[in-house]
Amino acid sequence: MSEHEYQPKSKVGKWFNDRLPLLSLASHLTDYPTPKNLNYWWTFGGILTFCLVTQIITGIVLAMHYVAHADLAFSSVEHIMRDVNYGWLIRYIHSNGASMFFLAVYIHIFRSLFYGSYKSPREVIWIIGILIYLLMMAAAFMGYVLPWGQMSFWGATVITNLFSAIPLVGESITTWLWGAYSVDNPTLNRFFSLHYLIPFLILGLVVLHIWALHVPGNNNPVGIDIKKPSKDTVPFHPYITIKDLFALLMFMIIFSGFVFFAPNVLGHSDNYIPANPMVTPAHIVPEWYLLPFYAILRSVPDKLGGVILMFSAIFILLILPWLDTSKVRSSVFRPIYRQFFWILVIDVLLLGYMGAMPAEGIYLLLTRVGTIYYFLHFLVVLPVVGYLEKTDPLPVSISDPIMTGGANISLAKKNDKSI
């Protein structure tokens, strides 16, 4: 790339750049050759960066007013809502921002699944991405505990109790996590500390994620390797920056809709009741973005089995690049996999819905079917379809409508648009 050729024009710039090549880095980032056919599903990387920065900034301000103590946490949140200037705005941005963050990350992950962005040579980008997702879940869970409402308290109780399923040492580990013999003030204190730490870990991983991306360059909707730079690429700035900005603004309109007109619709009303260890809520449910995994957890009658299955559901994603045996990246050219992709989307949505329902009767049955299918998709469907599927012919390049097998490009384009 352009690092080697880049020379700052000014003397001072050259002096500085020779010692710390920040200007070369800036030049690399602006010139970075990006496939010109990226569609709007590719704008979520930028949107996610915005989400992370927003959460960090609003979070730092909230931490200036929040008190991490079991007796004071709830009232300090009310103090933020009532007495801190624009405290309500900052808090609603932060709480709805978590939901928006997950909405964007799910779209980002499913985009990767559809266009095969996790495949060689991008496995490391994918693995770092899954680690970011894992940390996001930890951060979100601990953040939800901080207001110390009923759902905070009981959600923390349910999730920390999962570790007690570990044979022999489970009980001790749970007590160690709590710092007490139940979820109590020490638990709240450490959750606050970790909730402040994790976003910066995520930030570090995001830098690695982007660094790893800039080695092979972006995948694209056609999924073929392209020459960079070439007539198939555009410089990142201004072409991709303005497109990302446009998508980000659309996203912000939806985000603001929640913040200003329905700030509590994504939360649970029970969390406005102060935590009470003596009263258990009728249904303990996590936030919507954790529901699919909660459903998987509850689908198994055995506690340890449920915990193992739930963590497997996430960790299985780490080996995804080696489970998918197809050499073709984009689903645009994979007629069979494409069907299974959409079934997986429906399956995860179904699991999410079931996670919010009581685990009994028809719900439990459907949850089990959904859980089995989730694992079948990764362990059976992906490897087998990769071998058996007859993929459509791929184009030679993005600009070149010639297909290696001679099928016509308009078909590929049509499919591409329908996504």
Binding site: R82, L89, L245, D270, I336
Partner: protein, 260 residues
Amino acid sequence: MIKVFNIFFKTLIFSFLLSVKTFSAEAIDPIRVDWSFKGLTGKFDRSSLQRGFQVYKEVCSSCHSMKYLSYRNLGEPGGPEFSEKEVKAIAASFEVTDGPDSQGEMFLRPGRPADKFVNPYPNNQAAMAANGGAYPPDMSVLVKARKGGADYIYSVLLGYVEKPAGMILDDGVYYNKYMAGNKIKMPKVLSDGLVDYADGTNSTEEQMARDVTTFLSWAAEPELEERHRTGVKVMIYLILLTILVYLSMKRLWSRIDTEV
């Protein structure tokens, strides 16, 4: 192959719809009220807020605390907007425990606008002892803390009907149509003419329920009016900016042979 998927798909969707239907049949829907504070530009009805405060002060506050509110809030914009003089008079009508003084003694003094709403009971245990073991919940964020919000609170206030034949209720437990489980430890408190409204409004049961619910909604979300106002401005700004950015993007990308 495709056919198999189709069938699988339709079964999934069907069972999904079925489960949605069975679930929603469980709870009784609260009465839907056309609140003035609903919607994108919703505002509180000022006189209803003032009447609602009167109902709270004369009826609810003998059992329910409202500890996150201060008397000064009653005069702030977006709320009942009592005048400064009225707020001072309201605050002064309550006795606040202050101290310790220079002798180390706690003492009582008339309330000031900066004071928090006075609790009816010295502590939770006293509140429970006085109410048959049930703790009257703090009302500061009650509307946000109940599924169904203002509609639900309004419905419960008006939901005291004759219990179904054969149902046995313990002493101090009352039947309520809208309460989860239909059992409530709060007796029916509202009855026609209970409060003499300062503005002369006829104090029917529905009127009082409506006014006090409006007041509680404001107490839970004192920022609501400002939030709606700011929200509308933010939306207009974002939409205009989006249009400008869209046009710039189109112009920039016209140099490239790809659609955006």
